[in-house]
């Protein structure tokens, strides 16, 4: 058994692609963070139609006949297929059954399903209703890519993206796959837009994490794709060094106030990476801008005695639920490349005594923690590392 397990500790991020409200690729998002762009409207932030059309034009995204014709019009599938094709092409190895694909999404194709249901409720002919929002989404991607290896959908609320990365790392380390593609994908739909509002969680204005004047979360859409490999084929700047996940066992909609959940997930990730909390150079926080999240996460960071700077960038790009863990991990990759950290957007006046970072600036970065906290009390943390030259 031992000889099959990948002996090297590290799993490398050998490719990435992101599509988000500020454009395509991570540079445009990085710049939006530096320039403190404010783009929310009534607490929401969408990917533009122009960008979607651009994605549609570049590749033959639907070489196979789709299972349901509506999917060709679905933006989320277009962004997802575009991002995956891009990273597969750049990875320069053809797909085989030794490649895994793990998809993180909380709503998948719920947009299509909602349209079908709406016509059902109005007694009109129903189309697209048979489509399973999550499994159907994965099945369609699988078919259009011609992927033939292991496939999985992780839907553990807002921690799904980081969990998918952690699980992909296990697939590689256990020798089950040689390469693993991770997709985090989220589109705003009626369910999430009105649902978070019904729980009084959505901010009417901006999202200001860790700020004592916070007023809630802002929802957004995004797709992030990553390639994980056990070997660095030359260009990787970041590794996934450690991963941990833990449950609160407390509430369906708010984290346990003492922060024991994120404390446990960060501790597990640090232990997995075999580093101490003092070696962490930056924390890219979940920081949604809801009181419950920020309080629990700050308590956990404090309890771990991490003195390094903490930033949430959701004040710029909002919360893209399951996609957020993947998108923000790609931001961390850019941070390693530039050896710079971003400021925690709009966090003044600060509410907590942890070291909330108030200035984007150059910084020696060897290890970054990326956190996520999700509904149902699920926490997941990654320890990301710099590939030494």
């Amino acid at each position: 058994m031992a000889q099959l397990i990948n002996d090297s500790h590290s799993v490398y991020v050998t490719g990435s692609m992101a599509i988000h409200p500020f454009g395509m690729g991570i540079q445009s998002l990085w710049e939006a963070c530096i320039n403190k762009s404010r783009a929310f409207q009534e607490g929401l932030l969408y990917i533009s139609k122009d960008l979607t059309e651009k994605c549609r034009g570049e590749f033959n995204l639907f070489p196979q006949k789709p299972l349901v014709k509506e999917v060709i019009q679905n933006d989320l599938l277009i962004w997802s297929l575009y991002s995956l094709k891009k990273v597969i092409n750049e990875s320069q190895l053809p797909l085989s059954n030794r490649d895994g694909l793990i998809i993180a999404t909380t709503t998948g194709l719920t947009r299509i399903w909602e349209q079908g249901l709406l016509s059902h409720f109005k007694n009109e002919p129903v189309t697209g209703l048979l489509y399973q929002p999550l499994g159907g989404f994965a099945g369609e991607i699988n078919q259009q890519l011609g992927h033939c290896g292991p496939l999985q959908v992780v839907s553990s609320a807002c921690s799904a993206g980081t969990q998918a990365i952690g699980l992909g790392r296990s697939w590689i380390k256990s020798g089950f796959v040689e390469r693993c593609f991770i997709l985090g994908a989220e589109q705003i739909c009626n369910l999430t837009r009105s649902g978070f509002k019904s729980l009084s969680l959505v901010s009417g204005n901006d999202c200001v994490p860790f700020n004592e004047e916070r007023s809630g979360i802002c929802l957004s859409e995004a797709v992030g794709a990553l390639v994980l490999e056990g070997k660095n084929r030359g260009k990787a700047v970041m590794t996934v060094e450690g991963y941990g996940s833990a449950s609160d066992g407390y509430s369906m909609t708010s984290p346990k106030p003492d922060g024991s959940g994120p404390y446990n997930s960060m501790s597990a990730a640090l232990q997995d990476a075999n580093i101490s909390s003092r070696q962490v150079d930056w924390i890219h926080a979940h920081g949604t801008g809801s009181l419950h999240n920020d309080r629990a996460e700050a308590a956990a960071i404090k309890k771990l005695e991490i003195l390094s700077p903490v930033s949430s960038t959701k004040g710029i790009h909002g919360h893209s639920l399951a996609a957020s863990g993947v998108l923000e991990t790609i931001l961390c990759e850019e941070a390693f490349l530039r050896q710079q950290i971003l400021e925690s957007s709009f966090s003044e006046p600060k509410h907590f005594t942890i070291n909330i970072n108030d200035r984007s600036r150059p910084s020696q970065l060897d290890y970054i923690i990326k956190n996520t906290l999700g509904f149902g009390g699920i926490n997941a943390s990654l320890v990301l590392g710099r590939v030494s030259k």
Binding site: S198, L199, S200, S251, M252, T253, S254
Partner: protein, 90 residues
């Protein structure tokens, strides 16, 4: 509006809205707190009750602050409905 009748209606509506099937309208006191030391409800229960009350009595909780004040006990909910309805008749 008959206050006593309204109070019974509100209790029965709450029992349905948040599935308190182990309780009856008679077992709920008018002045009992909706929270921990009374009915033991949480903040999502209260949101659910607000939606139910708003729908049934055609009233609107203007903001979170006044929602918190109005949804403390059966008596405060009844006060809120009465005040909102008298307001609309002017």
């Amino acid at each position: 509006m008959d206050r006593e009748k309204l109070s019974l209606e509100v209790k029965s509506l709450i029992i349905d809205a948040v599935n308190l099937q182990h309780m009856t309208v008679d077992s709920i006191q008018d002045d009992a707190s909706l929270y921990q030391d009374g009915l033991g409800l949480d903040s999502v229960d209260i949101l659910e009750i607000i939606v139910a009350i708003e729908n049934k009595y055609n009233v609107k909780v203007p903001n979170a602050e006044s929602g918190k004040k109005a949804f403390q006990s059966i008596a405060t909910i009844v006060d809120f409905i009465v005040s909102q309805n008298s307001g609309t008749t002017h």
